[in-house]
Amino acid sequence: MNPVIEVTNLKKYFTTPRGMLHAVDDVTFTIERGRTLGVVGESGCGKSTLGRTIIHLHESTEGQILLNGKDVTNLKGKDLRQAREKMQIIFQDPYSSLDPRKTIDSTIREPLIVSRHFTKSQIDQKTQELMDLVGIDERLRKAYPHELDGGRRQRVGIARALALEPEFIVCDEPVSALDVSIQAQVLNLLKKLQKEKGLTYMFVTHDMSVVRHISDDICVMYLGQVVEKCSSKELFQNPLHPYTRALLSAIPSTDIDKPNKREILRGEITSPVNPKPGCRFAARCPYANEECLKLQKQEEVSPGHFVRCCRLQEISSSYN
């Protein structure tokens, strides 16, 4: 057991004019070195906020974050800067996450300069190595982001995140803006880098086929809470929470012989502002009854498989 990231009861609330928005509510997990935790859910479920809170782009409201066993929850100033060298992020949109007035070279170089660990010639050498590592041609060194296509821009984002040799990287929907043929190139690159450098990923996405491909373990989030957590294999073979099942059945299958057996959900994701204590999925859940209005606990139904649903015993017998 060698956890890189341990998150305990993490909460992130935002104050809005209408009340408290529970973006991340009581999330607990650990990620072992060299492994990938996939976080899936629909827009607005708090998956990006979770990633950003862990690496301190947002201050957490409550809870604890350990990086390599060291508490980094409330770091500030110089300590925070040092800790951040070990945790990086790759952003969703390769169009807006690069400075349009900086060349590719100076974007990749910037973290190396800011860290103050390297001499000028070391920085030159490292920048070159990073560009080779992610597969950006030498001729693009002096190019600006607008001259690059989405896939190459995302490679620049990856090179920048890798510059200070982090141990943990939050990948926030890194391929959702890319076409499938380019998406496959970037996913392969991320996997190769993980193998070579022993990186630990938290991979945030809404695409179930991508998350299945890249993750070792998966958290399914709904309105700020983790409703199901288990290994990637287990999740796709034996999904238990009604939301997970609906989510999986809603993916249009490319197999034309097997038409989807869809469990179509009624309604839409409800508001995360001042949520009631009960199950947040209850309003759309086909199995909901008055028991679901009570506080839901996360339970371990089999080793390593956690589900947050009080009626699981009853309803799982009706699954086929």
């Binding site: 629909e42 827009s43 296509d149 989405g150 896939g151 076409d179 499938v180 043929s181 380019i182 998406q183 496959a184 190139q185 996913l187 392969n188 996997k191 809404h206 179930m208 086929s209 991508v210 299945r212 491909h213 796709f236 609906a246 989510l247 059945s249 809603a250 993916i251 249009p252 299958s253 490319t254 197999d255 034309i256 038409p259 989807n260 869809r262 179509i264 959900l265 839409e268 994701i269």
Partner: protein, 335 residues
């Protein structure tokens, strides 16, 4: 008077040799190159391809809503019920838009007018294509449409910002369907939506299509959506159709190296694989398309013949069209 030339022995929608160009910085962008396709009533044709392949341009050409400045239809004919839409006057065309042919736009966040009530935006289409001025009647129809797409009629008076993404997309669908169009152009209707909402919207579209026998041109890059919804499929690459056939033909026997690559690049939901199989390289620059086959620079089967002259459509073994002159080598390479 405008002379109408109507051919009766044609499919419901028939596009012949459509060629569309944009001008940009003094260069010519070859957005659509000699596209021909047919669609019958009640059927759905999927246009599949990556960003910039020219899918949306084809749909906009049918409605003739390409920007006036900087784009023009260089060649081709678009027949709807035997009538060439490209020959119609702007006045006649306006009667068709939103009425006989309507379009669902990709991004529900920008397709609606933020300062008008959603109901009024639906009623606007109805009143434009109605022969009377009875406002109450148009409002009633708009409310009916809201109910059809699953939004309570009392939300007529709401503004777009009060709706979620899924609800806005339903309003866009309600606008498109308000006049019972014969042809629906759906441009990535569910791309901006979450999967559970996508499932609802796809079901809704399918239900309405069956009820009114509407023909639909569905533009998407999602092969899963195509598998669920379409009858026939056209795969577009760099502005040309490179493979064209029924859904069964394309999904069971993809024959063009690009189509095969596209299927191969999707992470498999049923099998574990260590590495994905991306298509090497990038789509070509549409201002400077390669000679011959536009896919040849990325194709592992390409020969000198592929790089010389334009490639025609070939029939594959099971009888669908494929724009590849190395089709036999490709089939062997696959087995």
């Amino acid at each position: 008077m405008h002379q109408k030339e109507i051919k009766t022995d044609m499919p419901f929608l028939s596009i012949k040799d459509l060629k569309v160009e944009y001008k940009s910085d003094g260069q010519i962008v070859h957005a659509v190159n000699d596209v021909s396709l047919q669609l019958e009533r009640g059927k759905t044709l999927g246009l599949v391809g990556e960003t910039g392949a020219g899918k949306t341009t084809i749909a906009k050409s049918i409605l003739r809503i390409l920007p006036d400045i900087g784009s023009h239809i260089a060649n081709g004919e678009i027949y709807l019920e035997g009538e060439n839409l490209l020959k119609l006057s702007e006045n006649d065309m306006r009667k068709i838009r939103g009425n006989k042919v309507s379009m669902i736009f990709q991004d529900p966040m920008t397709a609606l007018n933020p300062v008008l009530r959603v109901g009024d935006q639906i009623a606007e289409v109805v009143s434009l294509h109605s022969d009377n001025n009875n406002r109450a009647e148009h409002e009633k129809r708009a409310k009916e449409m809201l109910e059809i797409v699953g939004i309570p009629a009392e939300r007529y008076y709401a503004y777009p910002h009060q709706f979620s993404g899924g609800m806005k997309q339903r309003v866009v669908i309600a606008i498109a369907l308000a006049c019972n169009p014969d042809l629906l152009l759906a441009d990535e209707p569910t791309t901006a939506l979450d999967v559970t909402i996508q499932a609802q919207v796809l079901d809704l579209i399918a239900e309405l299509r069956n009820k009114y026998n509407t023909a639909m041109l569905l533009i998407t890059h999602d092969m899963g959506v195509v598998a669920q919804v379409c009858d026939t499929v056209a795969v577009i690459y760099a502005g040309s159709i490179i493979e064209y056939g029924t859904k069964q033909q394309i999904f069971k026997h993809p024959s063009h190296p690009y189509t095969i690559g596209l299927f191969g690049a999707i992470p498999d939901m049923n099998e574990d694989e260590e590495w994905l199989h991306p298509i090497d390289g990038l789509p070509p620059d549409p201002t400077n398309l390669p000679q011959g086959c536009s896919f040849s620079p990325r194709c592992k089967f390409a020969t000198d013949a592929c790089r010389k002259e334009a490639i025609g459509m070939y029939k594959t073994q099971d009888g669908h069209d494929c724009r590849c002159c190395c089709i036999e080598a490709v089939m062997k390479g696959e087995d």
